[in-house]
Symmetry: C2
DNA sequence: GATTGTGAAGAGGTTCACAGCG
DNA sequence: CGCTGTGAACCTCTTCACAATC
């Protein structure tokens, strides 16, 4: 636990991870899991960097934030690195997720296999519309919003996915915060206002597309 | 067209836009379109900044890259700013898009209204499976991959969306590059290798989720 | 008086380069 | 000899602060 080095002048007791680093850890993990499947046991920073199209010193520096994982002359142990990164980002447990809004996007998410494969368990699905509540969405019944808070609490859900129209998104987010949800994945095209302590990650496909055409136009 | 200002000492004939800026333009646009709908005619950098949860100087500096849009004491004209940003990112025209892979994700994208609303026109849809080709996906027939290149060329499609399983994604990307597609929106969980001149934007929901839980775990 | 546009200062992130280890 | 871990240099992005403008 005691990890102060006397040579550095910088004080940084709290393990503050640069946000640029955290956003790359997932990509490391993704490539490492592929490597593991291929039977690779060891990989150098240079190799891993090439897979991700970044520099090898970037990889080394990123991993350096969390301790010493590599062996000079050999590289990094794939299996061990996977375990370590999973622990760092919190993928070492299963997360209970609820989803609100069973339109096109919502339905696709319910059937999306990548979630389950990454340790996210969709534990409940909600929709406002009477036409949908009671029906099945995959293995789950679609519940009415009136049951939202009790179900979230009973199932100990900590993550919410919003896939409702933009006009309804803020209300849903408010309800989520109220029910104690700490992380929101938002597919609606609005910037959500949430209380401190709640983290929102937005996914806006139109924005992604615009990234693309910006490069194409320039 | 001639737009050199004599006062700046910096030489920068090529309009090089910091990549951090380009990624925010879309968000400015999104908020501005909402403001327009609400009837707002003018907005200050401070107001706009608040909507996006960034600083007002950030907004001013970002917009400053493209010329003078604002009026001191008044702010920015919403309508005019929308037009300008659209032109900058290339949203002033309609883009022809094709989609490969009609699974869960693909189907959701076909029905997703945000695309059309942002000037993206899905002009063709493809899938490998005999079970799907010939069937309808929305207003379009699902075409077999054998028709990919001719159709892309005939319809002047410049953007491709990949929503096939990870194992097939690289092949599809190769085919897209071959057919002359310049921008790829990739939903598969792999890092694609593409020739120079082709831009890829990846959307990986598991990665987004991991961003979320990283913050929750720390 | 309010608000822009912009140099200059400050943070933050990336690359370099090399000592030290296996 | 190959490769990691890491200070130092470098670069990019963000914030500050204020003259110029409406």
């Amino acid at each position: 636990m005691k990890k102060k080095q006397k040579k550095t002048g910088k004080r940084r007791d709290k393990a503050e991870v640069p946000k640029a680093v955290s956003s790359r850890l997932s990509f490391y993990l993704r490539e490492l899991e592929i490597l593991k499947m291929l039977g690779t046991e060891t990989i150098s920073s240079q190799h891993l960097a090439a897979l991700l199209d970044i520099s090898s010193s970037q990889v080394r520096k990123d991993l350096g934030h969390f301790g010493q994982f590599g062996f000079p002359g050999l590289g990094y142990g794939v299996e061990r690195l996977i375990t370590s990164i999973k622990k760092i980002i919190g993928r070492d447990k299963v997360w209970q997720v609820c989803l609100v809004g069973c339109g096109n996007v919502g339905s696709a998410l319910i059937h999306y296999k990548g979630f389950a494969a990454s340790g996210f368990h969709i534990a409940a699905v909600f929709d406002n519309s009477h036409k949908k509540t009671g029906k099945k969405a995959g293995r789950l019944s679609i519940l009415p919003m009136s049951e939202f808070e009790p179900v979230v609490k009973k199932k100990r859900i900590t993550i919410g996915v919003i896939s409702v129209p933009a006009s309804a998104a803020q209300d849903v987010a408010d309800g989520m915060a109220m029910a104690g949800i700490k992380g929101i994945l938002n597919f609606a095209r609005v910037t959500l206002k949430v209380p401190a302590g709640v983290k929102v990650v937005g996914v806006d496909l139109a924005v992604q597309m615009e990234q693309l055409i910006f490069h194409l136009s320039n």
